[in-house]
């Protein structure tokens, strides 16, 4: 409730002040998250670098296709639904090798 009220007040502030507060809030949350991890379960605090390495949204777009990985099961599904099969066949699995 207090948090929601804070968000409403934040929304009414001028842009520059709001941006500064949001930046500070992000820094505090990140610092607290890292500190809390140190107490119990140490984590990767260099999330910025982690995000540089992980696939971007554009690089992950191919995942919107629900690829099957078993040719026989694809065959069964194709026969059941009355559709042709599209097979993407590469040396090294196309969904997880490179």
């Amino acid at each position: 409730m207090v948090w929601q009220a804070g968000e409403v007040i934040l929304g009414l502030l001028p842009g520059m002040i709001r941006a500064t507060i949001v930046k500070m809030k992000t820094m505090i949350i990140t610092t607290l998250a890292c500190l809390s991890l140190l107490g119990t379960q140490v984590g990767l605090c260099d999330e910025g670098l982690v995000n540089e390495i992980l696939p971007s949204v554009e690089e992950s777009a191919w995942q919107k296709i629900d690829w099957m990985t078993d040719l026989w099961e694809a065959r069964q599904e194709a026969a059941r639904t009355g559709k042709p099969i599209y097979l993407w066949e590469m040396d090294g699995h196309p969904l997880g090798c490179v």
């Binding site: 379960q41 069964q76 026969a79 042709p84 993407w88 090294g92 997880g96």
Partner: protein
């Protein structure tokens, strides 16, 4: 990887695949070798295509559930692929109804030499790898428009009993990660797979190694891997955390940052000299088929499960 970005991220290709086809992806190295019903069916289709039967059969095929080939190509770029798909659909439309639907028998026993599944109770960690560059005082990804600059993905597999061993190590206060896991990571996962299939490292190429976990699950360490001629290598540091609850990994986060150098037979085009590379290991539930793709290094399974031997 280029296909993922150029072809299968294309909205028109996606729409057509989702609406008109059953999409399946497979590793040709296994598929063309397997001596089982799936292998026989694959060869029935592939033998109608243009490929030399004694070489790779990789490419893009459209066919019926009964095995009639309707289209093939191995070109990159969405235009040619869309043209092939649409041509294949025209042939499909002309087929009699009996050719389009039917009942396919239950799958028989798989050829286990060329078919790997995650062992019962096993767990999967995705391994993302990306070449980096230093800009503005920090490591960053490079422009996405060049082959090799995208994130590559592989999978690290654990057996249930292995997770239990790690759990005991942590509850005993921690120590060096056992050799079976250290060498599995070193030989099969500390690889630059951003431009193609890299070779795995040999045990004797792992020149320096330390990967520890403490009693709270914090992982840290460093490594130096170098080929005998010094032309291919990787040196870097680990930082991460793992957590195990009731014998199950609930967290496996490992960041690897280092310098990689050299190209392999199928990974030509590396940047000259030693250049920054980063890797992120992250636990996945394995619900999607794409998350259950076998590790690239498991083609010879005993070598993957017991890399120390």
């Amino acid at each position: 990887m280029t296909d993922r970005l150029l072809v299968f991220a294309n909205p028109e290709v996606q729409k057509l695949l989702k609406e008109k086809f059953i999409a399946v992806a497979a590793d040709d190295w296994y598929q063309r070798r397997r001596k089982d019903e799936t292998g026989k069916f694959f060869w029935k289709v592939a033998s109608q295509g243009p490929r030399d039967p004694d070489r790779t059969q990789q490419g893009h095929y459209v066919f019926t559930a009964k095995g009639k080939l309707l289209g093939f190509n191995n070109n990159r770029g969405p235009e040619k692929r869309l043209a092939m798909m649409n041509e294949a659909l025209k042939k499909w439309d002309k087929l009699p109804a009996a050719e389009k639907k039917g009942v396919i028998p239950k799958k028989g026993k798989s050829d286990e030499r060329y078919h790997h599944e995650l062992p019962e109770g096993g767990q999967i960690v995705k391994v993302f790898t990306r070449c980096l560059e230093e800009r503005d005082g920090r490591l960053q990804k490079m422009a996405a428009d060049k082959v090799g600059n995208q994130a590559a993905v592989d999978h690290l597999w654990f057996q249930k009993s292995e997770v239990e061993k790690l759990s005991r190590l942590i509850s005993d206060g921690g120590g060096e990660i056992p050799e079976w896991l250290s060498l599995r990571i070193a030989k099969f996962h500390l690889l630059d797979n951003t431009r193609g299939e890299p070779r795995s490292w040999k045990k004797e190429e792992v020149k320096k190694w330390s990967l520890k976990v403490d009693g709270k699950g914090k992982m840290s360490g460093e490594f130096l891997i170098d080929s005998a001629d010094g032309k291919l290598g990787y040196a870097g540091k680990f930082e991460g955390a793992l957590a195990i609850t009731k014998g199950r990994l609930t967290r496996f986060d490992l960041l690897v940052v280092g310098q990689h150098w050299g190209s392999g037979t199928y990974t030509q085009g590396a940047r000259p000299g030693k250049t920054p590379m980063g890797q992120v290991f992250r636990l996945t539930g394995g619900k999607k088929a794409r998350d259950r793709i076998p590790p690239q290094g498991i083609r010879w399974a005993p070598g993957y499960w017991s890399p120390e031997k």
